[in-house]
Symmetry: none
Subunit: 252 residues, 2 copies
DNA sequence: TCGTTTTTGATTAATATTGATCAAAAGTAA
DNA sequence: TTACTTTTGATCAATATTAATCAAAAACGA
């Protein structure tokens, strides 16, 4: 048995047992204590379990090594935008989170809050499902496997059945002339539904998207209350947005 | 055999076996270990499998690991029931799958089919999301974190918006006197909705639950078309069910 | 057909993993 | 605190795996 297999089994065993000794694990995996110790050291370094004297303990909220890193586009810029956006969320809030990557980054900063999250994004779901203080409503509908999100007519209807104080959304393009634009109609109908049913709409949008237009025009600038972007934003363009009544926050 | 063919076979083999050694693969593909190593290196670079020391492992979607079913507790009995149930599913079917553990076991046997699955179960979602031939609709609503499933009023409404040829459901208790019973009202309303909106209803139920009653009575026996159970079922009790018009299948 | 390119399989040196041993460190009890 | 036990990390030898190299085989194009 190789390290990866053992790692998987160790984590599975710990998930059941809360905590196990080196010898118990050695027995379970039919490996020597020396090997188990080496493994535990390595896995603990990844942050997936807690090394104790004599064994290991399950970690309650293991860092999600998967999506956040593999999505690759985990830039510090998006992180700063996400952190600022999360600062708008208060205990007791009911919020919509859409399926953009910047919005996803918010999850990290929401885990301490007591809120209800309504989302169509599976990564958001996966990231928050183990957080006891957060209740989740999932938008139902057709599953878009590539985007790992739910969309379609039924999803829009479903969103219309909810109201949230705040919506946090992403776009593919944003300009004073054309408002909010998207690459895909599917995605834009979902975003529109979030906007329609939220008290306050926050748009998370890195500087590269400002002044850029995609081909599906789906909402006016006036639909948005606050734009959260980064310091790279072009001053002329953001000024144009502000003159259209948009409140612009520069994160970082 | 060329690389593309081997790649396909390697991935198929891994899908079944979870993890394989270089030598096992060399045997399966009738190629030399050197070739297998080269192949594994290339495929791993594409991100389609995980190269281990000595072999390769199936890669699992990081998003679903969070809510995948613990694969430890699948009894052979449940497996046989699930396999029999899956044999009722044909290409082109649209099926409801509820969130029971026996129903979950069906996923393994559905992967080769071209169907649409409508479910409220996150483990089912996780298990099937990577199967290209299966389209998924997710039931939306309130998330029950413990059960890793969606329930609630909105979920029931949502189910009412769908129709499926077949529904595959579980129960906590089943008897000729009291029909279908459940531990929880939340769960039973979902099951009821599946029953109401399906052309044909298959009940997956191991022998221990037959003749047992739980406290929420939620459907008559006549709502079910076929009961799939195991050889451990008490003859007197199953006869009583059959006399009530139920078609009983013994799996295994 | 022949010559060229690509792929394969065998060989081998380099590397990685494992379990055993043992001194040092950490925990435990009085 | 001290004495005692347990756990650990380091090292080492044995074993297994790998990557690199090269010749043979297969595929390909003219």
């Amino acid at each position: 048995m190789n390290f990866q297999e053992r790692k998987k089994k160790i984590l599975a065993a710990l998930d059941d047992a809360e905590s196990l000794t080196v010898f118990e694990l050695a027995e379970i995996l039919d490996a020597s204590p020396a090997t188990i110790r080496r493994d535990l050291g390595d896995i603990a370094e990844e942050g997936l379990l807690l090394r104790t004297h004599g064994g290991a303990m399950k970690i309650e909220n293991p860092i999600l090594t998967g999506f956040s890193e593999k999505s690759g586009v985990n830039s510090p810029v998006k992180e700063r935008i996400a952190e600022r956006a999360a600062s708008y969320v208060q205990d007791g809030d009911i919020i919509f989170l859409d399926c953009g990557s910047t919005v996803f980054q918010m999850c990290r900063f929401l885990k301490k809050k007591s809120i209800r999250v309504i989302t169509n994004s599976l990564p958001v779901l996966a990231e928050l499902i183990d957080v006891a203080s957060i209740q989740i409503n999932l938008i139902g509908g057709e599953l878009n496997k590539a985007r790992k999100a739910v969309h379609g007519d039924k999803a829009v209807q479903h969103i219309n059945g909810y109201h949230a104080n705040k919506a946090f959304i992403g776009v593919d393009g944003l300009s004073a002339e054309n408002g909010l634009t998207a690459h895909s109609e599917h995605e834009s109908t979902i975003t529109t539904a979030f906007i329609r049913n939220a008290g306050q709409v926050m748009l998370l949008c890195d500087a590269t998207k400002i002044g850029r237009d995609s081909y599906v025009k789906f909402a006016e600038l006036s639909a948005i209350h606050t734009l959260i972007t980064d310091a790279g934003a072009d001053a002329a363009k953001t000024t144009a947005l502000q003159q259209n009544g948009l409140h612009v926050e520069i994160a970082g």
